[in-house]
């Protein structure tokens, strides 16, 4: 392609620079001590600039798809996959999200991780993550996407278990990876199926085949469902969402970057990327939506009783991701990506703010021990408020426009049940986010005196990123989302989602009504939260007493972890134990040793025949001779 030389270089550098940062930091970081961040942060800064360039390119060439096959990756018999990059508008958006948030989080980490013994290690991992994430979004084939996909999984594992001396952290890291692997199982099979029917794994080829109708409907559904399995793992959707809350064991910047803004979006991105496949399968779309909405409400329900500030945000993330799936499933593809776009900023912001809060509280994460921080850490407070409002969908913050499009889309698509559930979710979201803000920043400080004495605003390296992220969290919607359902982003993504949802938005009509309804829901929710957690703080306890099962179910995450411990995990371990103890040791090895033992026994058993008396020997001889004669005569005679 003419004129893409710069982009080619940029794309190459986008992936290579973080990788270089990773290698250099891993090898030499320890010697650089406190200065270990310089090189990786520099790399990421350049990368962010380059990714903005990528976005700009996409902006300027929105009808073009840049594909660059760097080299042949795997060629084996009929199987061929290049190592190739692709840039289109969807990639552009993702580049922007990942580049900017990644860069911001790096800067934030300088302050946050200051003094940690694994300082260099942290930056190395972050850089590796950036590498993998960029490969994921730049990949031009499912297989390379999968490489990035698993790569981010690896980094997620490393970063969650960053403080590996804590058992809970090492456990959570392992859990995250294995749960993701279960999803990847589906992804892998999906790739096989795609290759079997289309003969390629490159997006262009696969989608061309899909559009030509080369793939039968049944197969398409299978492919989509299997891909969805992968997405469920990565994007923490029910039933594979259980890893994400635990992932909060990692340092907060990790939560912000990986478990809110970028990696968890990969599933959404992948489904969106597979748009040409999904649109051909009604069943798959329905499943996507169903999974999404169920996850959304479930996560909200759980979030409402969580006391750990990061856990609340984690569940809110699951819920938000559920919303994105709802959007995809409802056919509001752009809305989904729009929400992803906005969510990246405000959720990243929320996590970073919570990190700032935790930092201020000296590591305390329990909201019951916070309160009244409004004045003590004002920057954090204001930025977090922006993030929260954006999250709950308060006009005119970014979240509002995106969420509204999704909720509206379900209604317009005629999925009224989904719409109702979505509205309930919106209400719950407002309540728990309000609860978070109010418990943290309002009321009396409930922390120990010693902790209170040390509460302080975070250093500029942390607050500046907050402010930087707060801007898009607040304004993004106004910039790209107006007018609703027809904003700039719709036009931008149209080349990718070429069957756009053409429902004209009318303020004084169905669209306006829906918007008003959702806005009212949010306000009601916030008011309830204000009433419960600022005015009548004893009421929540009374509610909990009134419906203890509901409260406990929520508090215990609907017991899913406990069920999983018994059914898949326990059963597998039990089966494995049986295989080892009984099948391997007793049966198989038992047979082996038994045969050996048997020979020995036969040998021992035969020894007495050798009596030592020569006449016995003569008897054997004579007897043997007679028997031979008899047998032989008989055989020959017959």
């Amino acid at each position: 392609m003419e004129g893409t030389a710069y982009l080619q270089i940029a794309v190459a550098l986008i992936t290579l620079l973080p990788l270089l940062g990773f290698i250099v930091t891993l090898l030499f970081g320890k010697r650089m001590g406190r200065q270990a961040h310089i090189f990786p942060v520099a790399m990421v800064t350049v990368t962010a600039a380059l990714s903005i360039y990528g976005f700009v390119w996409a902006f300027g060439h929105r009808d073009e798809t840049f594909v660059w096959n760097a080299f042949d990756w795997i060629t084996a018999g009929q199987f061929h996959v290049p190592w190739g990059y692709q840039v289109d508008t969807l990639t552009g958006i993702m580049l922007l999200v990942v580049g900017i948030i990644g860069c911001v989080v790096h800067y934030y980490s300088i302050g946050y991780m200051h003094g940690d013994e694994g300082y260099y290690r942290f930056f190395a991992y972050l850089n590796l993550f950036m590498f993998a994430m960029f490969v994921l979004i730049l990949a031009d084939s499912y297989l390379l996407l999968f490489l990035g996909w698993e790569g981010v999984g690896l980094c997620s594992y490393l970063l969650i278990a960053f403080w590996f001396r804590k058992k809970s952290a090492s456990q959570a890291g392992k859990k995250a990876f294995i749960v993701n692997r279960i999803g990847d199982f589906g992804f892998t099979l999906a790739m096989f199926l795609i290759f079997v029917v289309t003969g390629t794994l490159e997006f262009t080829g696969v989608f061309a085949a899909a559009e030509k109708g080369d793939i039968s409907a049944g197969i398409t559904t299978w492919i989509c469902l299997l891909l969805l399995t992968g997405a469920l793992g990565k994007s923490a959707q029910f039933p594979l969402h259980v890893w994400l809350p635990d992932a909060m064991e990692g340092p907060t910047p990790v939560s912000a970057l990986i478990h809110a803004a970028t990696m968890v979006n990969a599933g959404v991105y992948m489904v969106a990327r597979s748009y040409p496949l999904f649109v051909q399968s009604e069943t798959a779309m329905t499943v996507v939506m169903a999974v999404g909405i169920f996850t959304a409400i479930l996560a909200s329900y759980i979030a409402i009783t969580q006391n750990d500030i990061k856990k609340v945000i984690a569940y809110s993330t699951i819920s938000s991701l559920g919303f994105m799936f709802v959007a995809l499933g409802a056919g509001a593809w752009v809305a989904g990506i729009f929400y992803l776009f906005a969510h990246g900023f405000f959720k990243g912001l929320l996590f970073l703010c919570s990190g700032s809060v935790i930092h201020a509280m000296g590591g305390e994460q329990d909201m019951r021990k916070m309160g009244g921080l409004r004045t003590k850490i004002p920057v954090t407070f204001w930025t977090m408020l922006v993030g929260a409002l954006s999250m709950v969908g308060m006009i005119p913050f970014a979240g509002f426009w995106a969420k509204d499009e999704i909720v509206g889309a379900t209604f317009i698509a005629g999925e009224y049940v989904v719409w109702v559930v979505a509205m309930v979710t919106v209400l719950l979201t407002a309540i728990y986010m309000g609860r978070l803000i109010f418990m943290t920043f309002w009321g009396e400080t409930r922390a120990d005196a010693e902790v209170q004495a040390h509460i302080h605003e975070s250093p500029p390296s942390m607050t500046v990123p907050l402010v930087i992220l707060a801007v898009p969290a607040a304004l993004l919607g106004l910039v790209v989302g107006l007018p609703p359902e027809g904003g700039w982003i719709h036009g931008f993504l149209e080349p990718v989602f070429y069957h756009p949802h053409h429902a004209e938005f009318r303020l004084l009509g169905e669209g306006g009504a829906l918007m008003l309804a959702s806005l009212l829901t949010v306000i009601v929710g916030l008011l309830i939260a204000w009433w419960l957690y600022v005015r009548q703080t004893e009421v929540p306890a009374r509610i909990a007493d009134r419906v203890p099962w509901a409260y406990r179910a929520s508090l215990n995450k609907v017991y899913l972890d406990d069920i999983y411990a018994v059914v898949p995990v326990g059963a597998t371990l039990g089966f494995a134990q049986w295989l080892w103890d009984v099948v391997d040791v007793k049966v198989i090895d038992g047979v082996v040793n038994g045969v050996a033992w048997l020979w020995g026994r036969i040998g021992d058993g035969l020894r007495p025949i050798q009596t030592g008396r020569v006449q016995s020997y003569a008897l054997y001889m004579f007897g043997g001779m007679v028997v031979l004669v008899a047998v032989f005569a008989w055989v020959w005679g017959s």
Binding site: R607, P608, Q610, T611, G612, R613, V614, Q615, A618, F622
Partner: protein, 102 residues
């Protein structure tokens, strides 16, 4: 049954008698004697064959002669061995020689 076979029948019987002696008698010298009976049975068969079988050209007779001489050698060696053992163990009961077994 022809004449040769009658003689062979005698040889078989004598052979088996000798074999029984080897298998059942305790005295090792009697075992040696029984072995001689067996060799005599062989010779009987040979000479009988030589007598009755056309075209044998005396081979049987000569074979018998050789066997007689060999039997003598065998007895000499056998008895020497018996004596050597007798000197070691002071017994001629052959079934007590069972140090080597298993």
């Amino acid at each position: 049954m022809n004449a040769l076979f009658w003689w062979l029948l005698v040889a078989f019987l004598l052979f088996s008698i000798g074999a029984f002696g080897v298998l059942a008698r305790r005295n090792v010298i009697l075992v040696v004697m029984s072995l001689e009976l067996m060799l005599n049975a062989v010779n009987l068969a040979l000479v009988a064959t030589a007598n009755f079988r056309a075209g044998a050209e005396g081979a049987g007779v000569l074979f018998a002669l050789f066997i007689i001489v060999i039997a003598a050698a065998e007895v000499a060696i056998g008895l020497a061995i018996v004596i050597a053992n007798y000197r070691n163990r002071r017994t001629v009961q052959v079934d007590t020689y069972d140090e080597l077994k298993g």
